[in-house]
Amino acid sequence: MKRTLALVIIIVGVTAVLLVVGLKGPGISTGTIGVASGSALPGFSANVSTPEQALGNFLLDVQKRNWDRAFSVVERTNSSATEQEFTQEWMGTNGGLRAFSGLEKYDARPLHATDSEAQMRARLEWATPVGPVEDVRDFHLVKRGDQWKVIWDETPAPNVPAQVIPVNYLRWDLVSGNAAGSEWGSRNVDGPHVRIVSMNAVDSAEGSVVMGEVVNEDTIPAFVNVNATLVDASGNAIDDESSFDKIIHVLLPKQVSPYRIDFPHIDLSKVKNVRMDVKATLVPASSDPVIGVMNQKLDADAQGHSVLHGELMNESGQTVNIPHVIVSFYDNNGKVVWVSDGYVEQALLPQSSEPFAVELPKSLAGKVQNFHVVVNEYTLQKS
């Protein structure tokens, strides 16, 4: 009994002492907890004798948001570029998608290297609110003395002059009316008329895909969702899915949107029928902003992937925080053979442009004769 009591007292006492030391003692100043002070961070090379190491350190700093250290290893080609601009490019600004993202992982490979300079290609994977986004970026490194530096040759965005842009595009508001005391039949406002104009079901590497286009035939905006149910030969439903974000949900009058519905791990050979359902509801909306899609071109990128790229031009006075590009690809009969989409990571400022690129599966590149790009926009503050 006495021995037990003594043991308990000792354990409690030691725990208390350790707690006090941990809370009040000198903090660990460097490195990750668990790593002995003075040694390298996991992945961080103290010795940057190679371009791989230099780029690795740089990207690790970007990942950990050590902007001062990251900026210290870049060499600016434009002397007027500031650390703030550098930070904003990597961190995102104006509520763009990058501002809500973090660099999850990266994989850098050399393209070519000499003793004094190197070209590296890094595949960056960003964790974003809309899922993982992959970005492939080429880095140019030069050796200065015994240090490798990352060349930062980003040209600053054009400075749009201050101006007043009148907004006189139409907007629609929804008034639900006074529910109490309203007589039967007096509050009739029909929902918008929306029609699916095409549907195509195909097999893909990930499963079955149903895609096509939908049009708002009405004179008022519609909030649209397209659902599909795959039915087998016995008439039983195999699965039903929605278009989720692969559609422009708010369709203005006479606007056409592609849609794509994915059915992962379902073989199209098991499907006998596809039941389509489009739901449209009244929604307040605005015709503004108007976004142009300029210089669209379909060609192969440096890795041999078929990519449709271009520039989004914001012709309005409102910042588009998160632009989302959806592309429908057509064959020579005008049939939709694929729908791709991609988010633009930087916000689209008024009267400014941002590049975009979406990939087309290699197997379809030969079939595509035409394409149509539409832009979905998410704005944090609606005026």
């Binding site: 406002v189 006479k254 606007q255 899609v293 669209q296 071109k297 271009g310």
Partner: protein, 299 residues
Amino acid sequence: MSWSMNTLCRNHSVRNTLILGLGVVALAAVALSQTLNVRVPSAAVAGESIWIGTTGSGSATFYLIGPTVSLKHDVQLGSEIVVPSKQTEIAGQYKAVVCVDHCQSADFYVAPAKPASLTFLVHPSRVPVGQNDAISGVALAFDEFGNLIFEPSTVDFQLAAKGSALTTRSVQTQNGIAWFRAPSGKAAGALQVTASLHDVSARRVVQQVASDPCNLRIKGQRTPKGVLVETEPIRDCAGNPVPDGTVVTFTAKNGNEISTVDAPVKQDVARAQIQAKGTLVVSAASGVVMGNELRLEAQ
């Protein structure tokens, strides 16, 4: 002494007593049943007081069972029971029940009162111009208490739009309902639709909107930044301007480079600034309607 039926029947005095007793009982039953009687009105109208007669004497419990009504109170037999108008507002079948030691009931119907409101359902709320049988309306007549009036009556429907002649048609209700179908007019604008029955009416508005764009034509000019392209005033085939906000897609092609802008119509015209170089072929489309093509040479 054993008592058997035979013995009883042979005994005259007993037999007579039995017959007398049975007769008394029968008479009493008849008397009782004759005492409790309920008289109900042959014709009652919603919202009017009614009188229910009873026969007999003594006190009884009166029940009135009907749509929304479940009354119970004590009454004196032989007097008339007044049912206030508040209890007969709802049309339908009623049961008047009077109970002493047994219950007697009678049914009667309350008919709807005169028309006081029209429920008018009109579809759709928006309709493209020039469509056959595009507009329909259904009218139901109710009295002030919400009872459906199913006696035949004539409902007048009127359709009036600015710049069009007034259309009127009279329809006899069948099973309490009158309905019509009509084509939409040629001119866009509000169509007033009215249903009237005697001095009761209901009005609805149908928006007649322009149909699909017709003869979509564009014009353009070069600017320092690219091309400014705009449509001529966009109208449907009946000459109605398409509503503002209708999206027109402008497309400019230069070889295998394409630029597009989805621009909404503003005051009958859609315009867009397209940043593109070189010789351009520009076209426009709205919904499923295509416009003309324009060729603009490089500057």
